[in-house]
């Protein structure tokens, strides 16, 4: 197992290298003048063509591909990720500012997904093929078919526009004032909900939760449909296993069969999927955060991709790739720990 972990960790730099190289190669398809568009959003600031040339030189936009890449990697070695014109701050600062917000969102999204998804999946499999199963399935498929941006805008419309319950953003202005200014509010984890509890500020805790519910629903409704499918087929599979039949034949109560015998084993693959889902959600935050103007990584990544801000895109992609490799590793290990039959090779 240890050698497996080491091997996987050795691959990590390779993947990170590959990711940066790939994105950089994509951006080198652009001419220097096109890349200037990242820094200039209105030609009126260029008094004359010389100004354009000065800017191209200043930002090393005319470096040919390998040289530009080497220049970028060199500054990366000094832990300098460069400047993000999209975020108007250094890329590293931008990541530090947005990462906790996104993690908080993903963390809270995964909870209802696991609860609702698994629970409905089990019901669906127990009532295999009868009306309830079909209804749940079709509802899941309809959910799956709803584009996130339509769904998100609807949530915003109903719960903020009409009911006024779930405001967009991350905090109300009064709470922002307390959280961002002065020394009275201590940042321990940068998860605002948790920090608020640690500071004993229940009002801020509620404010943060209110802002989170909308994005959580939007981010997770597709995932629970997916988890439901996995749970359902895994349960169906398990329910047909010999030991379940034996249990049933022995006259064990049906409820007990399902909840104690079957569910336990059926959930092993579900754990894996749920783990990977957290990582996938990191990619899925782009639209959710855009709709709710939730100030996280996804919102930023979307605007930097549009503005061809390659430093920021690479920064985001590196972080994502890192999380992905580590996350997969953790999932594999925990899988091996839960199910002794699995051997990591």
């Amino acid at each position: 197992m240890l050698s497996y972990i080491i091997r996987r960790l050795l691959i990590l730099p390779l993947i990170l290298f590959g990711v940066t190289f790939l994105i950089f190669a994509l951006f080198s398809l652009l001419s220097p003048m096109e890349r200037l568009a990242t820094y200039i959003n209105n030609p009126s600031v260029l008094k004359n063509p010389q100004a354009a040339q000065r800017l191209i030189e200043k930002y090393h936009l005319d470096d040919p591909f390998p040289a530009g890449y080497i220049y970028w990697v060199q500054s990366l070695m000094r832990l300098d990720f460069g400047w993000s014109p999209t975020a108007n701050q250094p890329v590293w600062e931008a990541i530090k500012q947005r990462f906790p917000a996104t993690m908080e969102l993903v963390f809270y999204s995964i909870i209802p997904v696991i609860l609702v998804g698994i629970w409905l999946g089990v019901i669906s499999s127990v009532h295999h093929n009868d009306l309830l199963d079909q209804t749940i399935r079709v509802t899941a498929i309809i959910g799956w078919s709803l584009p996130t941006f339509i769904f998100g805008l609807l949530v915003l419309f109903i719960f903020y526009g009409i009911l006024g319950w779930l405001p967009p953003g991350r905090l109300s202005t009064w709470a922002q004032y307390i959280v961002y200014t002065g020394d009275s509010f201590k940042h321990y984890t940068h998860f605002i909900t948790i920090d608020a509890l640690l500071n004993g500020r229940l009002d801020i805790f509620w404010d943060a939760i209110k802002h989170l519910i909308g994005p959580i629903i939007t981010l997770s409704y597709i995932s629970w449909a997916y988890l439901l499918r996995i749970t359902r087929s895994s349960m169906l599979d398990t329910l047909r296993k010999d030991y379940i039949r034996t249990a049933r034949a022995k006259g064990v109560e049906e409820k007990k069969v399902i909840h104690q015998h079957a569910q336990k084993n059926a959930l092993i693959p579900v754990v894996t999927v749920a783990g990977m889902m957290i990582i996938q959600m990191l990619g899925g935050v782009v639209i959710t955060e855009t709709v709710f103007t939730y100030p996280g990584l996804g919102y930023w990544a979307a605007s930097s991709a549009q503005q061809l801000d390659y430093g920021s895109v690479i920064g985001f992609a590196l972080l994502f790739a890192f999380m992905m490799v580590i996350g997969n590793l953790v999932v594999d290990i925990s899988y091996a720990l839960i199910d002794p039959r699995v051997k990591l090779e």
């Binding site: 993947i15 339509i150 979307a302 985001f316 992609a317």
Partner: protein, 311 residues
């Protein structure tokens, strides 16, 4: 095969899905008859007025527009925008009808091409194994490590606007799933007796992959593909929503929804006054995706070997 079709028709969910698909295919085929184009490029949605604000269903074409089309020798056959107009005076009905063709094109071309790449990469990796497998799979990992939507956005922004660019971007970052699935299933079948036998007989590697391995391993990929057609259309729509999809005025559902983005709520007291701008395009996307998912979902149940004989 017969068994599969019978099951598809016997299951009410998939039956609905198939019927919906049929309707969409029909719309795509007869598009020129129900919405005759006014421009040489039929995918260019005609404007019913120059208004930026959406106009409600039943809105009649304005006089200056009628003048334009008549001067261009294109008599106006549809006087009214029966689904209303989107932001910019574009006829929603026309956009949706021709958008059906766009949806099929995006969905099918994207899925076919990415499946093709995926099958090639996956089968080569699995069949030859060793360092080839290692290299190809690490390459797959690298592509997988970039969030799909962000990668697609970057590539479309770089290539410029246009549906072809969207398709390229979706294919370039959409083949990895197929590669993994096909590799997995080939790994489990390549040790079987009939493959060994073919090898021993000196059959060429290419023939073994194409005629012995693939036919027996391709079903899970097909199921995945059928479900992906829907999700690819949604992704393309999302790209339009984020501002990097089809060009303005192109008959594309995603763009029609993104036109509605700023009008989704309407003035207070008149909540939802622009409901048509989001409702019609939204319902088309949802039903289209739904139909593929219903079919794909049932297919999966049928083809899932673990469930065989249970349905």
């Amino acid at each position: 095969m017969y068994r599969i079709i019978k099951k598809l028709l016997g299951n009410s969910a998939s039956l609905i899905g198939l019927l919906l698909l049929l309707v969409f295919i029909l719309i795509a085929i007869i598009a020129p008859y129900i919405a005759p184009p006014l421009f040489p490029d039929p995918y260019q949605i005609p404007r019913m007025s120059w208004d930026i604000e959406p106009q409600p269903p039943g809105f009649s074409i304005t006089d200056d527009m009628r003048f334009i089309y008549e001067s261009l020798g294109k008599p106006v056959t549809r006087e009214q925008a029966i689904f209303g107009t989107a932001q910019g005076g574009y006829d929603i009905f026309y956009g949706l009808i021709w958008g059906t063709r766009t949806a099929f094109r995006v969905g099918i071309i994207t899925v076919v091409f990415s499946m093709f790449i995926g099958i090639i990469v996956g089968s080569i990796a699995a069949y030859f194994g060793g360092w080839i497998d290692e290299v190809l799979m690490r390459l797959t990992d690298i592509f997988l490590s970039i969030p799909f939507l962000v990668a697609a956005m970057v590539l479309t922004t770089i290539l410029g606007r246009g549906l072809d660019k969207v398709i390229i971007a979706l294919v370039a970052f959409g083949w990895m799933g197929y590669a993994r699935v096909i590799r997995g299933s080939i790994l489990s079948t390549k040790e079987e007796a009939y493959v060994m036998a073919a090898k021993a007989l000196g059959v060429k590697d290419f023939r073994i992959i194409a005629f012995h391995l693939l036919p027996n391993t391709i079903f899970p990929v097909l199921v995945q593909a059928s479900m992906n057609i829907g999700s690819m259309v949604v992704t393309a729509a999302a790209l339009s929503f984020l501002g990097v999809g089809a060009p303005l005025g192109y008959a594309d559902w995603g763009q029609m929804v993104s036109f509605a983005r700023n009008w989704i709520i309407g003035a207070p007291g008149k909540a939802g006054e622009y409901w048509y701008a989001v409702f019609f395009p939204g319902i088309f996307i949802i039903l289209f995706v739904l139909s593929w998912n219903l079919v794909g979902d049932t297919l999966r149940d049928i083809l899932d070997p673990r469930l065989r004989g249970e349905l």
